[in-house]
């Protein structure tokens, strides 16, 4: 207390919110895992901490932004006449980000890392820091940063949340609540549809204003009931965006697993990660393996970035990748860097740990706590949770 720390804040230890926090932790952890995979794959192959990975992530968000703009979801257009989104838009952004990020990753490898392959690893690391700084500062010269842009939510076809009751509120209240919610949703849809009609010149300002008032009234009623129901119930609220994000991450991870375990190039990757030189001698085309590694790792970052930016509604700047990059990196190390399941596990642990720190009310130390976990894990298992603790051969 003397140091001005409020160690037992107001929100501390509310059992009712714990399940929700845990589930969020896992959902968010899936993104950390996706970023961590990129670090871990490159590390496994080249023993290089690819500090520019966060910046590739950043570029992924920009690519998604540009695609959304190209498809017409620009701020000006959306203010004038919003239009609905479709899963196709989402798919285009996803694939676009993955492809461009994959190529950028490969380009970075070719230009900056390949020449450093036979050099001391620390020199390669500094080059990676240099690339990261160049993309942050150099990118800011050409990419839109002021004001920091954002992908319009109209481009996002998966809105809303899934609700799972753990403890239902008393029946009459629940009925009222469901009713109010439906009215609110209907008012929202009606309002939106009317807005979309602007595109086809089928609406008037008056009509829209009336609907807007209706929406406001519905919202007030709904939020009043929401507040009444809150203390009497326990539930999980899962934004659809987060679910899609976690689902896509899972699919990508399964794809990666298949690729690494079942394909020829995957075998090559495993061989190279065991012993770079021997694999080369045994006829594995090391350059192809490194190429694939960067391609896939960066594409995963691109996918993560696009979903992160869109579903969380984040403003994008050239520093967009710093925080998730650092988290992903820590997740990779916690899981055992170089180990693919480890990265996934690490990501999930980071997500859940963060959620628990917030739950306990110490959210001001949230970002420090990831590192505390990291240090504790490394002190007990010096190679991370799933890293091979093999003894150095003498």
């Amino acid at each position: 207390m003397g140091l001005g720390l409020t160690l037992l804040p107001l929100a501390a230890f509310d059992p009712a919110t714990l399940p929700g926090q845990l589930v969020y932790g896992i959902l968010i952890g899936s993104i950390y895992a996706l970023v961590a995979l990129g670090y871990t794959m490159v590390y496994g192959i080249l023993k290089l901490i690819n500090f520019a990975h966060g910046e590739v992530f950043m570029l992924g968000a920009y690519v998604a932004l540009f695609i959304s703009w190209a498809l017409g979801y620009t701020p000006e257009e959306m203010q004038r006449a919003p239009m609905p989104s479709s899963l196709m838009v989402l798919g285009l952004m996803l694939v676009g980000s993955m492809v461009v990020c994959g190529l950028v990753g490969v380009l970075i490898e070719f230009m900056a890392y390949r020449p450093m392959r036979n050099q001391p690893r620390i020199s390669a690391l500094i080059t990676a820091i240099g690339v990261s700084l160049l993309l942050q500062y150099g990118g800011a010269l050409f990419l839109p940063v002021s004001p920091p842009p954002v992908i319009r939510e109209e481009a996002n076809p998966v809105q809303g949340s899934l609700r799972v009751w753990i403890q239902k509120p008393p029946e009459p209240l629940l009925g009222q609540y469901t009713e109010a919610e439906r009215e609110f949703e209907q008012a929202k849809d009606a309002h939106k549809n009317e807005q979309y009609k602007i595109r086809t010149n089928g609406t008037t300002e008056e009509k829209l204003a009336a609907l807007s008032d209706k929406l406001a009234a519905a919202r007030t009623r709904y939020s009043d009931l929401e507040r009444q129901i809150q203390p009497k119930s326990i539930r999980l609220i899962l934004p659809h965006g987060l679910l899609v994000m976690a689902g896509t991450s899972l699919v990508l991870m399964l794809f990666l697993r298949w690729l690494v375990m079942k394909t020829k190039i995957g075998r090559g990757m495993r061989a190279v990660s065991q012993d770079f030189d021997s694999a080369a001698l045994m006829g594995v085309n090391v350059n192809t393996v490194v190429f694939t590694t960067f391609l896939i790792g960066s594409a995963l970052a691109g996918a993560g970035a696009m979903m992160y930016a869109l579903f969380q509604g984040l403003t994008i700047s050239t520093f967009f990748g710093v925080a998730p990059g650092l988290k992903g990196f820590v997740a990779a190390v916690v899981g055992g860097i170089g180990n693919i399941p480890g990265a996934v596990l690490g990501g999930l642990i980071m997500g859940v740990a963060e959620a628990l720190v917030i739950w306990s009310g110490l959210d001001m130390f949230k970002d420090a706590f990831g590192f505390v976990i990291l240090i504790i894990v490394l002190l007990i298992l010096p190679k991370g949770l799933l890293g091979s603790n093999k003894v150095e051969k003498v």
């Binding site: 140091l3 001005g4 020199s123 240099g130 700084l133 500062y137 590192f371 505390v372 490394l378 010096p382």
Partner: protein
């Protein structure tokens, strides 16, 4: 006896030199240039002290700003709490703070150094990085340290900070150089080279590692202790990850293990972005501004140049003159490419509409120079070598004898 005379004389020279530097700077330099002189000294001290951990002992630490921060905040806190009563002359106070800051930072170094017994390489690196972030976040949340707003650590009258910082920088260099000159440095180098073999030779690896950590962090803490009163006001932002990376970059760019290399790179990398600030249109005091097409072409040009120079390095075998011709050719080709490229890029309206001043470009240029230097000289400016008069003599002799032959 003679030894002590020489030693006393050299200490006296350093003291007088730093004193004169301080007097000269205070009398004839603007506050801006004084800042540059001061901070250049600070970065030399930081880079060389990190070199002790990273380059000489081979412990991959990338959180050096944490120790710097601890030194600075120890001083800031003590100054804010006790200095109002003016217990001491300000120089004496700062010297006392240097001791306090380095002790606290040294203890922190011990805390971080202990895990290094179990961790190697990249794992240690991430732990040190994490330690830096933890310290920053904790400070940010401690009201007594000013939180994220920062803390006032004024020492009045202003202490001779330039003198103190350069004394520290020279002390740091001297410590590292002495270590490498005496047999005491060998275990440190041996630990860097091969831990298992060192322990088989009876080197107490843990003790060596922890010593390096503690001494390195103490020096960084001392630098922080001098930095805080000079800055007058410090915030956690002064010590973020970027600072750690810059100092690490200085060490690697100078050549890991080379004390002179770290010192030179420290000066170079700190002063480069500041030099870019100073660039003006020739003959006027107007800031240089460059059009978008030229910037884009230049960016690509540097990358091309690096590749061409690498090709020259790798492929052109022949006399020195031939190599130089190759380098110049690469340079000329790039210049042409940049020129033509910028003309061609004028066709892009987006680029044409943009104009950049040096102030905006400087960080991008800095990053580009970093990459280019690493690609062209992966072992750093000095490699593993040290500056020495003997070495210079040898090179000169070789050159003359080569000319004879």
């Amino acid at each position: 006896m003679r030894f002590w005379l020489v030693r006393l004389a050299s200490v006296a020279v350093v003291l007088v030199g730093c004193f004169l530097l301080q007097q000269w700077a205070a009398a004839s330099l603007t506050p801006y240039l004084q800042s540059l002189v001061f901070l250049a000294g600070g970065y030399v001290a930081l880079a060389v002290s990190l070199n002790l951990i990273n380059g000489i002992t081979g412990q991959f630490s990338i959180g050096h700003a944490a120790f710097y921060m601890i030194g600075a905040y120890t001083t800031a806190f003590l100054t804010a709490t006790f200095f109002k009563a003016q217990p001491l002359d300000s120089t004496a106070w700062v010297v006392l703070m240097v001791v306090a800051g380095s002790v606290v930072a040294g203890i922190a170094g011990l805390v971080v150094g202990l895990p290094s017994l179990r961790l190697r390489g990249d794992y240690l690196a991430i732990v040190t990085l994490g330690f830096g972030e933890i310290i920053r976040i904790v400070v940010q949340n401690v009201k007594a340290l000013g939180g994220s707003f920062g803390i006032d650590c004024r020492v009045e009258p202003a202490p001779p900070s330039i003198m103190l910082m350069w004394l520290l920088a020279i002390l740091t260099i001297a410590i590292c150089r002495n270590l490498l000159k005496s047999a005491h440095g060998l275990p440190f180098l041996a630990v860097r080279e091969d831990e298992i073999a060192s322990s088989a030779m009876g080197v107490q690896v843990t003790k060596v590692k922890v010593t390096a950590f503690v001494v390195g962090s103490m020096l960084a803490g001392a630098a922080g202790a001098i930095y805080a009163p000079f800055q007058v006001f410090i915030t956690p932002l002064n010590f973020d990850m970027y600072q750690s990376f810059i100092v690490l970059t200085m060490v690697v760019m100078g050549g890991t293990g080379s004390v002179t290399g770290s010192a030179i790179a420290g000066l170079l990398l700190y002063l480069l972005p500041e030099y870019l600030r100073l660039m003006k249109q020739p003959g006027t005091s107007k800031a240089i501004s460059i059009g978008g097409p030229a910037v884009a072409a230049g960016l690509v040009g540097v990358i091309v140049l690096v590749w061409l120079l690498r090709v020259v390095q790798a492929k052109v075998v022949g006399s020195k003159w031939q190599r130089w011709a190759g380098n110049l050719g690469a340079l000329a080709a790039t210049a042409l490419l940049v020129y033509l490229g910028s003309l061609a890029l004028h066709g892009v309206p987006f680029l044409r509409s943009r104009n950049y001043t040096m102030a905006e470009l400087r960080m991008a240029i800095f990053a580009l120079v970093l990459i280019a230097l690493m690609l062209l000289r992966p072992a750093g400016i000095m490699g593993h070598h040290e500056f020495s008069w003997d070495g210079i003599g040898k090179r000169l002799r070789r050159r003359t004898s080569g000319a004879k032959a």
